[in-house]
Amino acid sequence: MSKPIYELVDQLPTGGITVRALKSLDFIVPGQWQNLVGFDNTIRAVTGETDEALIQQIGERAITLFNDKSEGYQRALWLYQTVDSASGMLGTAALAGRIGQDVSFLGILKHLTPKPEKLQSLDLCVKLVVELVAFCQINGIPGDSIGDFLAALGDYAGESLMRMAALTCFDGLIPLGPSFIDQALSVLKQTSPSELEKNQTFIGVNELIPGSNSSGKLKFITESFESTQGWMSSFVSNNGLTRERVLDNLQKFVDVSKDKADYVGAFLDIYVKYYEHTGIQTLARRLIERSVAEI
């Protein structure tokens, strides 16, 4: 049993590396993400209601829905938490004790190892698939057609859009450079099911990826990546995103060195838990939206 949902939302940090790294992406999705924390705060912000009795009622329904495992919310939480910790596990043991502390990039540089491109490419693909699977766990498959489903995905806003911006920048553009989409897809196509089985990020979330075996799961990951690559490449081009620009902005919030982009990727991988942070915010928002409508 996970922690109560209201505690998870109440305990979201208001500062630290994850929050600062996400704030550095505000230039891409201006005003979309305000780091909304606190369960009651989220209820007020989402619904615009102020009556305490009504807030209590909405909160109670949200907690009831979250606690019912068959509703899928706990699986989504698990996915968001696991994909972050599994990909960050590659950080060396020397850094393990420092997670959660405010570390300096240069201070730990000697312990960082850039992740091999193949591994990073697979991580990117697995994380994207986790987003799709978590989306379905939280929202079901809304609408009556594939077009409806894509419209629902395309309507990403707020913390969900921020998570996708972070995925694009922190797991794509910074560690892999401008051709990260093509590169990830070509790596994916050369990956065998047995190689996939050895990927830490995949191991972490394996059981919730659709497919009866690793080969079926690899197929699902490839198809999902292929169908969302268009979205990602227009996201990059519409926003004029370059590694340089992202790093410039990141440097304003987090102490990193621009000339060591590979190492910045490894650093972000270990210390920035953006999936879990924004994932809990997404979960809370969707639960509250459902609850206020159902009561």
Binding site: T47, I63, E71, G140, I141, F149, D155
Partner: protein
């Protein structure tokens, strides 16, 4: 050697210190502790009744393609479906249908003196208007922008296929 009087005083001091420390460290219980307790045990009741209609059955009754607005699917869960209403890319309202079976949601309509499209209706809080169809299905419109008023909510409720929903059982 400590005199018995001092020992007594010291014990009292230590005791009060223990009390102060434990009082500070124990958090006030959350306003949600009780519901957490009731819904998280092994025998906790299901959040949605088994006989509730699947959300996918509700899609057909939502208004679609209203001039000037985009209506985007948002959630489709057990006993529940919801759509977003966007205007120029901005979310201005939410539309929802849910099956109230097994929840207390239908009770608020019992003393309602208001009606919309012939169904009992209520205003809930500042941003929601709801009706109850067939004593079972709640149709709710929620404002997400101050410009989307109470009157807009009532007008949008009428855009649902309410007769179709009433035939669903």
């Amino acid at each position: 050697m400590i005199s018995p009087r001092w020992r007594k005083a010291l014990t009292a001091l230590m005791l009060s210190l223990v009390l102060i420390v434990s009082a500070c460290s124990s958090q006030e219980p959350s306003r949600y502790s009780q519901i957490q307790e009731e819904t998280s045990g092994r025998n906790a009741p299901a959040a949605v009744a088994d006989e509730a209609v699947q959300g996918s059955n509700f899609n057909q009754f939502f208004p679609r393609s209203v001039a000037g607005y985009d209506i985007v699917p948002y959630q489709e869960k057990n006993g529940f479906a919801e759509y977003k209403v966007n205007q120029d890319g901005k979310n201005v309202a939410m539309l929802a249908i849910n099956d109230t079976t097994g929840t207390p949601a239908a009770a608020k309509f019992q003393n309602s003196e208001m009606s919309i499209a012939g169904y009992p209706a209520v205003e809930q809080g500042q941003n929601a208007t709801a009706i109850l169809v067939n004593d079972r299905f709640q149709v709710k419109v929620l404002s997400r922008d101050p410009a989307f008023t109470k009157d807009d909510r009532a007008a949008w409720i009428e855009k649902f296929d309410l007769a179709g929903l009433a035939d669903l059982s």
